[in-house]
Symmetry: C2
Subunit: 179 residues, 2 copies
């Protein structure tokens, strides 16, 4: 797992091949299948590792004392830019929920749900943050775009809108497979 994570983070998704992983481990590729059912199992395990990292990063941001939504957004962006390939793995394909530790998805989402006040707004905020980092990572913004200003604009809008909802406590309790 450590070797796989290094391969992914250092050289990107195309570099994460069974052959190269085997090379790094001083073993032939087919031998990996004695330990892993296949590449998908490997990727599922990496998703769990990555989501665990996101979870702890966001939880810490929420505890930071600043405005929670702003702090969470900054931490989210920082994580994505620091681990672009892992972030893509985590967001460009279906979550392999069967392979995820019980409750991890909910734990990762909890800080944002609490900060946003209701699940719909939490999803909107998540979508905004994901859209910003994903388009940035994908090189889709024009090179001269002021992304900090776009973040401020979106966060101001999301923070300013009125809440429509039940108290945060109830929302968190009913949260299921978090986003």
């Amino acid at each position: 797992m450590r070797a796989a994570l290094e391969l992914l983070e250092e050289d990107g998704a195309e570099a994460l091949t069974m052959r190269r992983l085997a090379d790094r481990l001083g073993v032939k590729a087919p031998s990996l299948y004695k330990h892993l059912a296949g590449k998908e199992e490997l990727e599922g395990a990496l998703m769990a590792v990555g989501l665990e990292q996101v979870s702890s990063v966001l939880a810490e941001a929420a505890r930071s004392g600043e405005d929670p939504l702003t702090a969470i957004a900054a931490a989210y962006r920082r994580f994505a830019l620091a681990h672009p390939h892992l972030y893509r793995l985590l967001t460009e394909r279906p979550l392999l929920r069967e392979r995820l530790p019980e409750g991890l998805e909910a734990r990762a989402a909890a800080p944002l749900v609490r900060a946003a006040g209701d699940p719909d707004r939490a999803r909107a905020a998540w979508a905004f943050a994901h859209g910003m980092v994903h388009l940035e990572l994908s090189g889709r913004f024009p090179p001269d775009a002021d992304l900090d200003a776009a973040w401020r604009s979106g966060l101001a809008a999301l923070a300013g809108a009125p809440t429509t909802t039940p108290p945060a406590r109830a929302v968190v309790r009913s949260w299921r497979g978090p986003d």
Copy 2:
């Protein structure tokens, strides 16, 4: 190009291979290289086709009479869900701007820039919309999430926030490589 687009839209990105494209054209794969420099050129051409479609869909939505931001958002989502593989091709990798017709990127972005009122808010709105459709396409929202409600929540926030900016006309004129 028509065959390639069919392959992509019907069977997804993994199905778009030089071999299968050649098969569909009744030709051997190496022959394709007499017409195309390589797969990347093919993908670049498909991106141009897709962006042209997005552009016309958004322009029509902006002319629809409804609230422009809402109409554009609905059209954007409709396009992405109707053409998921093309949408991914268009957003998960850098825009191949060298291969794009002059001005296409700006034309595609114009309706949203006009509706949002300033480029930062336009980018925030684009990020929100992209995040929503991309997470939906990627199967990252929990199965029971109310995505319509999340869209409403995000759009209400973005529409309600105050503008910080110069008149829309000037903004459009200074728009460069649109998003």
